[in-house]
Symmetry: D2
Subunit: 460 residues, 4 copies
């Protein structure tokens, strides 16, 4: 638990061939991917060309009541959870978006960021296009409607704009009047996998959603692949596919975004995180009594650290499970603090102990400093902070909402200075050069631009 970075949306989709309640399964799938976006949730269903959409700001379980889910009937469904990188809160920008184009309703949900958004928008405006949102998905819909008039089919239209117009990181699910379509950008920067429930097909950003709806994992979409499902079955357009080894899965999915029970491009997220703990214990060993995690973000790496070092894993911090997004923030002059409302020290565990404390990131450092202080106040002899990600010092152009450099500790201070500022006895970050060891099972390339400044695409 630290000043959180924000994840960038989760996608789910289903084409039913067995009589399932697609909206209810989509709900469960989105629910499993709530960590990917807590700002808004939406589901659109297509019932024999009639599309019904329900979306609102809030968590999945807040947005959808049983009554609402019951009102969403359709053979196809797509769903979306959102975190809006630019703080845009207008519910109009929540996804899926639904428009009518010449062939009927079109519903689209995307995860990602177009790096040439402004260029594409300006071009459309010149042609007299009007816009309801500030959403990249709407740009894609305009381009699709136009490309469809040219190529005669919506999926060939999609292939064309992927090739000639869209630049950036994106995964996308959409429903035309009769087809469910899913795709990943040619660089494969965002995850999207396919599963099967009996004879029906589902798509999800993470495998944890497949597990939750008890779908069998089929495979991940290839970078650049377009999968089309309709009454005739499943087929792919692979015109934009490239060599998988040249693709660029966001490495931050493993370190931070994804749920630890997901498997992405062949690599277990939990295993990746345990490996960070192992590497941290090798790189920054310490003579300590216990290894403890900042709940819940540091747990996987802390277990890895404990296992590798032989120092016992312990529970030093207690998290209040009832902390919601909406609890009243304590004001400056209050007795308590947001951190204290969320986390308390277990005195019994920490008194007179030398502690390795593991978390997944330090952004602004304020939370971290408070936790170290609370531990010391409760009698901890030493607190050694270990961070399971390298310091991010570069911007992300592909959807991760990293604070500007002036707010990033790692951009402005040395590790020693940061250690001092948070009051720890030592501090160690995951070494960037050992990142390849964290994802040994990955079956593609990855992007670590936020740590290295090297990106797969040029950016605007």
């Amino acid at each position: 638990m630290t000043d959180k970075l924000h994840e960038e949306c989760g996608l789910f989709a289903m084409f039913d061939n067995d009589g399932y309640d697609t909206a209810r399964i989509t709900y469960a799938g989105l629910f499993a991917m709530q960590h990917r976006g807590q700002q808004s949730a939406g589901i659109a269903v297509n019932n024999d060309r009639k599309v019904t959409l329900y979306k609102d700001n809030g968590l999945v379980h807040e947005v959808f009541s049983d009554e609402v889910i019951n009102s969403l009937k359709g053979r196809m469904a797509i769903g979306h959870v959102r975190y809006s990188a630019d703080g845009e809160q207008d519910v109009l920008n929540a996804q899926p978006l639904v428009s009518r184009y010449i062939k009927g309703p079109l519903a689209v949900a995307t995860n990602g960021t177009l790096t040439n958004y402004h260029e594409l928008k300006h071009q459309l405006e010149q042609e007299g296009a009007i816009f309801q949102t500030t959403n990249e998905t709407e740009i894609i819909m305009h381009l699709l409607a136009r490309a469809r008039m040219k190529t005669g089919r919506v999926e060939t239209g999609l292939a064309e704009i992927m090739k000639n117009q869209l630049r950036g990181a994106y995964a996308l699910v959409m429903m035309s009047p009769q087809k469910l379509i899913a795709c990943r950008d040619p660089k494969g920067m965002k995850p999207l996998c396919m599963g099967k429930i009996e004879n029906s097909y589902v798509f999800a950003s993470e495998t944890c959603a497949l597990d939750t709806v008890r779908a069998e994992f089929v495979r991940e979409l290839d970078p650049g692949e377009i999968v089309i499902v309709d009454v005739n079955g499943v087929r792919s357009i692979r015109d934009n596919c490239q060599d998988r080894k040249c693709s660029s899965m966001c490495v931050f999915e493993y370190l931070y975004f994804a749920r630890s029970d997901s498997i992405i491009e062949g690599m277990s997220v939990h295993k990746a995180r345990k490996l960070t703990g192992k590497i941290l214990s090798e790189t920054y060993p310490v003579d300590a009594d216990i290894v403890a995690a900042v709940p819940d973000s540091g747990v996987d790496a802390a277990i890895g650290y404990a296992e590798a070092s032989g120092i016992p894993y312990a529970k030093a911090l207690m998290i209040n499970r009832y902390v919601g997004r909406t609890f009243i923030q304590p004001t400056q002059e209050q007795r308590t603090t947001a951190v204290r409302l969320k986390i308390n020290v277990i005195r019994d565990t920490v008194k007179d102990k030398k502690i390795v404390l593991v978390d997944d990131s330090i952004v602004r450092g304020t939370t971290c400093a408070k936790l170290v202080a609370m531990l010391k106040e409760a009698g901890a002899k030493e607190v050694h902070m270990r961070i399971s990600a390298p310091p991010f010092i570069w911007p992300c152009y592909f959807g991760t909402d990293i604070p500007s450099r002036e707010h990033l500790m790692a951009c402005n201070y040395t590790v020693d200075e940061i250690c001092n500022m948070i009051g720890a006895d030592s501090l160690g970050f995951m070494p960037v050069e050992r990142l390849p060891e964290v994802v040994p099972d990955i079956n593609c390339g990855y992007c670590d631009g936020c740590f290295t400044g090297k990106y797969p695409y040029e950016h605007e």
Copy 2:
């Protein structure tokens, strides 16, 4: 995480001498004790004899907005979170209760159960009393108003009804027009402690609430003690106090109810739970690869088991942190289940492993059976279930909402039968005879009636 037993309310109170925002501090205190009651929350403040009350069904953060808290101004405040044992959902029964008696407003909140409730109520009815609620607190208010006419003071009235009329387990906080009063029943069955913030006084059911509002722990109230705080300071009435060693703190607070970062009657709850793990590892050793917890209920004991046995602690189950009380329950015919929406297996951890799985209780056994099945399905070789509480086989007359015997597995089946039913390879419960070892630091007696059938009071 199992079919949950329900906790029985949390209390918080404050008398301010420093200009603090009493409602906001009470909010934070209740927030820290949300685990003690999720059905309703309420705060009453007394602003120079004018009492304002706000209560509603819901979690603390749902019931109270910033605006509501701002509207609650007063030098004294009392707060309450409730779980209603009898399923009564009428918000009228939410606490605190506020009435007007001859001296002005009276606000009372209680945690506990009167065993002679029906007898007291009948007697009052005979005298023409009328009732708004089915709440024991209202009985206490009637008795108080009458006793006050007799003894001349509300606190002496309270001492008298504690001596002559109230029987059972209770802790109580109340505000008369000018005094804040707190007390524990003579057997001390429910916890209540006192803290200090500068020159101001707070009371809370658990110390975790004191930590959260950064109050200094002063002491626990003695069994039978009445503490009165007013502008003249703090004083006690100890007429109903008895030998502390004869008191009967509910042992279930340590095993189940309380937050693991609380300290009750001198004993750390987290330490008690770790000790159950140690005892389980001694009593039911097993040759296993990993020790894992059912999140979050089994974590403390699992850590204790791992530490004592030397088997590594691992994360085998992933809990979805976004599960609220209100998410849509999957229906019978759905693909997913409530358990699956909440918990998923981390395949990587469990494949081909022999697992010790620790939880704090088995009530109906259905959840447990599903988790064992999920682990096996994911490749676990063996699953050895360890439960950190003894089987409860007796009713509780003092506020714990234990299902009727017909629903309690332990009343109807042998341990072997239960083991079979949940599909585990072995099953071990905390042995009841070793309970004293679980609470080595406790400074008073305790009640273990739900395990032994031996109670401190006769019951109706």
Copy 3:
């Protein structure tokens, strides 16, 4: 339409012998009497001794949804609409009140004011009673519970407290576990009538409610009468009944409170109001072109004035029917005013005309002044104001919420001064000495204390 005086509650009750939906009929009855109270509405039903209550602030149609009405099942029902004279808005004070006394649930709703409220309350407090509301109905419930213990029956208890304890104006409907009971105070100051639907009985404050639910009018309750309906039929306790001619029906019901389609104590309210118009035309004749009403409050009297004088009735003012209670009040600096949002002049009607403008009262005079100004601005040559009630210059102790004397124009200025202040060319009030001519068909005495200062009861 003027600065309104506030009415004092409407009552409805039903005992079903035919299988009717009592809550739905009570809803319709309350709906018809919405003019008697717009602050809160409530219905309690008794389903074989189980009482369910639903009440809230708001209009009848706002408080009750179809779903809520469907949840209110019972053979007996009582309902209430409230205007709270003392501005108390706490929904706890909304009626009916429901308590449990020794025989089970008791639900009571009253219309009126006890003049010895404080005396009764103090006496109860001395006996240790506690109170939830500041409501007179709760006093009655306490007294009833005590009297019932003494007399053995709730209806004899009611007869006793009517005789010995309750003083003031009240009509009341109540449900004990098995009986529906209705009564009027011995002076008969508040209306209450009985109707029949097939073999079922209903009670209502006004006959318009009987018409709305298509009940046959049976009769009005006698002053002091208690009517009991149960499975054995209907019976009365008449111990507190007196000579009807000595009773004191509130004359303001005819002039102001009641709906003009109601008949109270034999006298048509519409006819009474038309007669005020006739008397005004005789007392203050004027050479005018048209007679117009302030909508809607002056319409009946204006029609009477027009008919008696031979001057044509015209529509000079247009009321906006969408004005609700909650529209945004224009602020001082706004272009428009509350009066203008509600009423506009029909220029075509008033240009170059001499107008008689009729309303039912002048309280503070501000609205009246604005209307006269608007008429003149639209070209009216003369505006002659006629008021169909005498000036009230005395307080009401029985439930009518008359502003304090300092706010009553008629207490502080002569008629000429008022005429000047409102900018009218002449002004005439209904002469108090001709009030008997307004209610020629009334079959009892009446109270005109607010005009004359002569009251049927002493007051505290």
Copy 4:
């Protein structure tokens, strides 16, 4: 009060030069025109090129709270109340619509119907346009964005699409980034007038809105005129203007839609309605005791009938002013009916009387039949029904939501048959050939297609 026909939206707009609160004035203006649309309400403000929109389903006072109005700051504002002819309830279709086009935000609100909607939409779709609504306003916005790219200015773009593309009846207000623009269609079928508040300009569908905000009436827009207001003042584009005498104001505005205090194209609505009463009294004289109105729809014509015939105007029916849109509809088996909840007979007035009962229309006849029955049941000797509009027997293509012919009594039965069916003693409709006498002061032509089948435009 009858089975209502539905009105077709009201428009309001303001360009402020004096520092007024434009949203609050727009609110008041819409409030005055609530009768033109009760389904949704919306206001958009333009604060230095930043447009803020708030709209929702509901009445003006339900949609807008003080807080919402305060959040709408801007020098320009446009507002809209809607009745949706096609029953579309999606709030997306509520107006104003706001889009972004190349020059920034564009907000548009319209009243009316394009007869070539489908043709225009299809053409846009062919060009790859996508749509969010099923709203004609969105079509206009697409055409405007395209025409603006061609003509270089939004107002010249508007002139061009009015000339070449838009066909049908419409009035429109819009805000470009810097201009407030209002127009009426070349046939002038929908009303729109201009007013002034000091140096600021307002536009409204009806003059009653100008009166309510105390704006001075300046003039009506000419048919086909475009008025542009910006910081440089007011100017018109008159390229689409034609001879006013050839225009076609909807005559139903006088008979039914407009508020009786409005003046449209020089003709007082109240006067027009009184004239219908006069004509009815001449055409269908009757020897009666009283003339009464169905409240409130028949009041103006009834007053005209009474005045012309010399028969006294009386109040025979009492309307319940608290009937909202949302009250619980009585079910079939209920004691009461929707009509009875709304209207009750004043027995005193009708007993033994011969009554002329006036209303403005008969659509399905059911309400009318119930009222006649209620009057007879209350003792009326004769009931002579007079309807102040001719029977509509033709569809309207320009926005009036007339039921299909199978539901229109007048299409399926003779006047005698209808008279029989409603149980009246006689029945007379306003003669269509005397319509010119109803609008003697009108300064333009009018459309009476719904009575005659003769329309100003061809229709699709």
